[in-house]
């Protein structure tokens, strides 16, 4: 059902875990499937994401999609990270079984939510 690439990434996700000092956290869920994910980002003064991590309660593809999302945004500017889309994540995941494509969407939403959270926190700091 799952390709070796997906299984390898599921077993050894590089970006799984919490992130101390994160200044943006995106929380998302998928009610139909019960998935719940959190994506943490650490953004520097130049608005570049220096670190990204995730936590997930979800199936194999959910974990892989979030891991891919973190890999795509780490080291990139917030603007570039915001442009990460569903197709990029799917492509990077490899062969996603039918019915699991929604996980790529969940990952995109998590990226956007984390960046939104970062900006909200920045505004609070300014105030």
């Amino acid at each position: 059902m799952y390709s070796e690439k997906i299984i390898e990434r599921f077993v050894n996700p590089k970006y799984a875990g919490g992130l101390r000092g994160a200044n943006g956290t995106g929380k998302c869920d998928n009610e139909d499937c019960g998935d719940q994910v959190k994506l943490y980002i650490s953004v520097n003064d130049d608005n570049v994401i220096t670190d990204a991590k995730f936590k997930a309660y979800g199936g194999v593809c959910t974990i892989v999609a979030l891991d891919v999302a973190c890999s795509l945004i780490e080291g990139r500017s917030l603007d570039a990270a915001l442009r990460t889309n569903y197709y990029q994540i799917l492509e990077e995941m490899g062969q996603v079984p039918e019915g699991r494509e929604y996980t790529a969407n969940l990952a995109v939403e998590a990226i956007r939510a984390a960046i939104e959270d970062f900006y909200k926190k920045q505004e609070k700091v300014k105030k």
């Binding site: 059902m1 799952y2 299984i7 599921f10 077993v11 996700p13 799984a16 875990g17 929380k27 139909d32 499937c33 019960g34 998935d35 719940q36 994910v37 959190k38 995730f54 936590k55 997930a56 309660y57 979800g58 199936g59 194999v60 959910t62 974990i63 019915g99 699991r100």
Partner: protein, 391 residues
């Protein structure tokens, strides 16, 4: 990966040697068509008759010709629901099934609904037991059939079949039960339990896949399933699969013969497994009835852990379990059984089924619990759910 341990016996079992020995001659020595009159055919027919007799004796049917061989439990369930409903349609078009039936019952009901029948889905309590007072409430004058499974395949809860059958008969309603998970686990006496129709299958009791039967009490009407020929008293045409039927008959005989001794062994296996799990893993809950359940099925919720991810990690280490019934575990939908039992989504999404069989050893269980402990810890360390957020 070296070691492999199978914990999915409720999905299917291997074929036991006793059963295999019964089947082997039927592939090349006894190869006649059981519906032909010559000596080759008669020889095959005698094998089929013997199997029918064995099943009749095992469930205490009054006649061997009350057993109709099918391709398995799904076919027998489909046939029972549709065949009985249609046969009694002149009396009424309302049937009752429980919400936790196998998909082969529920999907057949959906077809009936499209054909103009009304189906009431009986709720269950948090342990998976059907609500008897609710049953009395939803019985109508035009109810013709009640179908409630004897043992649930996901949580192992045993229903009060005899009581339900009595209620059905008080109202002149036909009673069918899916006993696919019951044979060999609990005593089934179709006369004492007043069962009118009953589904059985071979591959859950160390018999071959692709064969099962529908017990149909003499006098109960049913629409024919397959037209063409005189097989199965003309109700289900087709050349009888003699090796499979021979194996099925033997499997049922052995399952009933060894029921007491197996029940004891399976109880020990389950209790040892559960103790190891509780000793080593926190936040684990048992789903299903605390007492009224079979010893071969254990449904556990590992809080904060997604069932599919856990199943995959276990599988990669050679431990085979199920995230529900086999027919639905490929789908993303939640278990309709756990949902009907009123479990929270997060409980249902974190629950997997372990089912036990004769070949399991203490070493197998120790290995599986080692893998389970590591896998649960790994997934919890990256879970978005937290202990603080537990309900």
């Amino acid at each position: 990966m070296s070691k492999k341990v199978y914990f999915d016996y409720a999905s299917t079992t291997y074929v036991s040697n006793e059963v295999l020995n019964e089947m082997m001659p039927c592939f090349n020595a006894i190869y006649g068509n059981a519906n032909t009159l010559h000596s080759f055919g008669r020889m095959a027919a005698s094998v089929v008759d013997k199997a029918r007799d064995r099943i009749k004796n095992a469930i205490n049917a009054s006649k061997a010709n009350e057993i109709y061989f099918t391709s398995g439990g799904t076919e027998a369930n489909n046939w029972a629901i549709r065949g009985l409903a249609h046969a009694y349609a002149n009396k009424g078009k309302h049937i009752i099934v429980s919400k936790i039936e196998h998909k082969s019952i529920l999907d057949a009901c959906e077809v009936l609904e499209k054909e103009g029948f009304e189906v009431s889905y009986l709720p269950v309590d948090k342990h998976g037991l059907v609500n008897l007072s609710e049953l009395l409430h939803i019985i109508r004058k035009d109810t013709t059939l009640i179908s409630i499974m004897a043992v649930n395949n996901e949580v192992g809860t045993i229903q009060n079949v005899k009581t339900i059958a009595k209620i059905a008969h008080d109202y002149g309603i036909i009673f069918h039960t899916d006993a696919s998970q019951a044979i060999g686990n609990i005593k089934i006496d179709v006369q004492d339990m007043e069962i009118d129709a009953m589904t059985m299958t071979a591959h859950k009791i160390y018999g071959p896949k692709g064969v099962g039967c529908l017990y149909l009490k003499d006098g109960v009407q049913i629409e024919n399933l397959i037209y063409g020929g005189s097989a199965e008293h003309g109700k289900r045409g087709g050349t009888v699969d003699v090796p499979a039927v021979a194996g099925f008959g033997k499997a049922v005989e052995v399952a009933v013969r060894d029921m007491v001794i197996n029940a004891q062994k399976m109880r020990n296996v389950r209790e040892y497994f559960l103790k190891c799990v509780h000793d080593r893993i926190e936040y684990v809950e048992v789903n299903g009835h605390p007492l009224q359940k079979v010893n071969t099925i254990l449904n556990l919720c590992f809080e904060m852990v997604d069932k599919e991810s856990l199943l995959m990690l276990l599988d990669l280490e050679g431990v085979a379990v199920s995230a529900g019934s086999a027919c639905t575990s490929n789908s993303l939908t939640q278990s309709h059984v756990l949902k009907a039992m009123g479990l929270e989504d997060e409980v249902a999404n974190s629950s997997i089924r372990f089912s036990f069989g004769k070949n399991l050893t203490k070493e197998d269980i120790d290995y599986a619990v080692d893998v389970l402990e590591k896998s649960v810890a790994k997934l919890r360390s990256i879970s978005a759910l937290t202990k603080a957020g537990r309900k």
